[in-house]
C-alpha cells in the first residue's frame, strides 16, 4: 500500500476531487495547511505598515491506495492540480505498513 500526500493550490480542490472520483478513488483526507516552497510569499500594506506573508494557504490531500493503483492515481492527481505556474505544490509517496478498518477489523487492501 502507498500513501500519497499532495500539497495543492486550494482553488484546485474541486478539480482534483472530481478527477479522483472519476477513476474510482473512494476516500481521501484533506487539511488546510500553510507553507511555501520556491513560491515565496507576497507583501501586504495596511496604512503604511508592511507585512510579508511568506506562508501561503494550501491544501493537503492524503490518499492511501494499493500499490497497483498508485501510478494511475498520481498521474490523475498531478494532471488535475497543475496550472503550470510556480506554487502548484508537490506530491510525496510513502510506503504504508498496515491499514485497519475500525468498524470491522478489515486489514490491508480490504480496509481501503
Amino acid at each position: 500500500m502507498k500513501k500519497i500526500e499532495a500539497i495543492i493550490q486550494p482553488f484546485k480542490l474541486d478539480e482534483v476531487k472530481e478527477a479522483l472520483t472519476a477513476i474510482g478513488v473512494d476516500g481521501m483526507t484533506i487539511c488546510e495547511v500553510r507553507g511555501h516552497g520556491r513560491q515565496k510569499g507576497h507583501k501586504e500594506v495596511y496604512r503604511g505598515r508592511e507585512y510579508t506573508v511568506d506562508l501561503l494557504p494550501k491544501l493537503k490531500i492524503e490518499v492511501v491506495v494499493s500499490d497497483a493503483r498508485c501510478d494511475e492515481l498520481v498521474k490523475t492527481l498531478v494532471t488535475a492540480a497543475r496550472t503550470g505556474k510556480i506554487g502548484d505544490g508537490k506530491v510525496f509517496i510513502y510506503d504504508v505498513a498496515e491499514a485497519i478498518r475500525i468498524r470491522n477489523d478489515d486489514r490491508g487492501d480490504a480496509a481501503l
Binding site: E44, V45, Y46, R47, G48, R49, Y51
Partner: protein, 453 residues
Amino acid sequence: MKRYLFVLSCLPAVVLAQTTPDVQARLSALESGMRSAQSAGDNAWMLTSAALVLMMTGPGLALFYGGLVRRKNVLGTMMQSFILMAVITVLWAMVGYSLAFGEGLPFIGDLRYMFLRGVDSAPNADYAGTIPHQTFMVYQLMFAIITPALISGAFAERMKFSAMLLFMVLWALIVYFPMAHMVWGKGGLLNAALGGMIPCLDFAGGTVVHITSGVSALVTALYLGKRLGYPHDSMKPHSLVISFIGACLLWVGWFGFNAGSALAASGLASSAFVATHFAAAAAALGWILAEWRKTGKPSVLGGISGCVAGLVAITPASGFVKPMPALLIGFVAGIFCYLMVVKVKQKFGYDDSLDAFGVHGCGGTLGAVLTGVFATSAVNDGFKRPLGLVDGQASQVWNQIAGCAIAWALAIVGTLVILKICDALIGMRITEAQEMEGLDVSMHGEEGYILEG
C-alpha cells in the same frame, strides 16, 4: 358735499373696524399654521439627523474600529463604542446637557437644565427656534456619544474595561461638556453666534468633536504605551470587510452630523450636505492616490480611511463653504492625513492603534483652520458679516487658530489629569496575560466568532 366727503373718508375706517377682528384672527391662525408646518418639517429632519448620528457610533464606528483590530479583540472594541451609547446618555440626562448648553460661564454651562428640567416640546429660541427643545437636546446628545467613542481607536486592544468607563465619564465632564459649551453654548467663550469673546466658526464640531477626541487619543496612546509586540508582531486588521461596512455607514451618518447641524430642513442644510459629500469623495481619492504613488497599490483601507479624513476635515466648514472649496478641503485632508498616519506615526513610533489622532486630530485641526480661509457669508448669512479670508476677513483665520489652540490645550491637560486619576484608582492597562488572550475573553467572557459547531 363736505358732509359726503366726510362720510366717504370715514368709510374705510368703519369697514376696517368691522373686519379687523376677523382678519386678525385669520392672520394669526395662518401664522401659527405656518409655524407649525415649518416646525413639522424641521423637526422631521432633525429627528432623522439625530438617528443618523447615533448610527455613526453603533454600528458605524463600532464596525469600522472592530474590523481594524485583531480577531480576539473584536467584541471588546465594539463594546467600547456601544457602552458609550448607554453611559453618556444617562450622564447627559443628569447634568451633561445642562453643563454644555445651560447659559453659564464662558467655559462651562450652569445647572439650569439638570435632570432635563424645562427641556420639553417648546423650542429654545437661542439654539433652534423651530424645533422642540427636546429634539435639540437629543440631537446634541448623539455628538456627545460619538466623540469619546472616537478616542477608543487610540487605546484599542489594551485598556481595562472598568478603567475605560471611568475615563469616559470624566472625559465627558472635564473635556467634552466644557468644549461644547465654549463653542456652541450660549455665552461660551468661542461662540460665534451667541456673543463669544473669540468668535470661532465650527459648524458641526471640528474643534469640539475631532480635535478634542483626536488629541486626547494621542495623549492616551502615549500614556498607555504600545501594545504587546508592537510594532514587530503582525497586527493586521482582522476583517476589512467589517471596517468597510462601518466606514460607509459613517459616510451616510455624517449627513445627519453636518447637514443636521443647520438645525433646520433649510437651504443651509442642503449646502452642508453637498459640502460634506464632496469633501468625503475628494479625500478618498486624495488618500488612494498618495498611497498608489507610494506603495504601488490603491488599497480599500486607504479609500475608507481617506473618506473618513475628508468627513472630519469638512465638519467645521460644512455650513460655511461652497462646493469647490469643499472638494479642495477634502482632497488636501486625504493626503495630509495619509502622511500623518503613514510617515509621522512611524517616525515617532507611538502606537495610535487605529489612527484616531492621525485622522481626527490632524484632519480636525486642518479643517478648523481651513474653515477660517473658505467660510463665506454667501453660504451662511446668519452672522450678517463677512466670515472668512475669502470674504476679506483675514482675522477669522487667527480666531480659528485660537479655537484650535484652546481645544488642544484643554484636551491635553484634561486627558492627562483624567489618566492620572484612573490609573491611581483602577489601573489603565490589562495584564500581559489578558492582552495575549484578547479583550473578548478576558474582559467580557465571550468570543466574537465561534467557528466550530
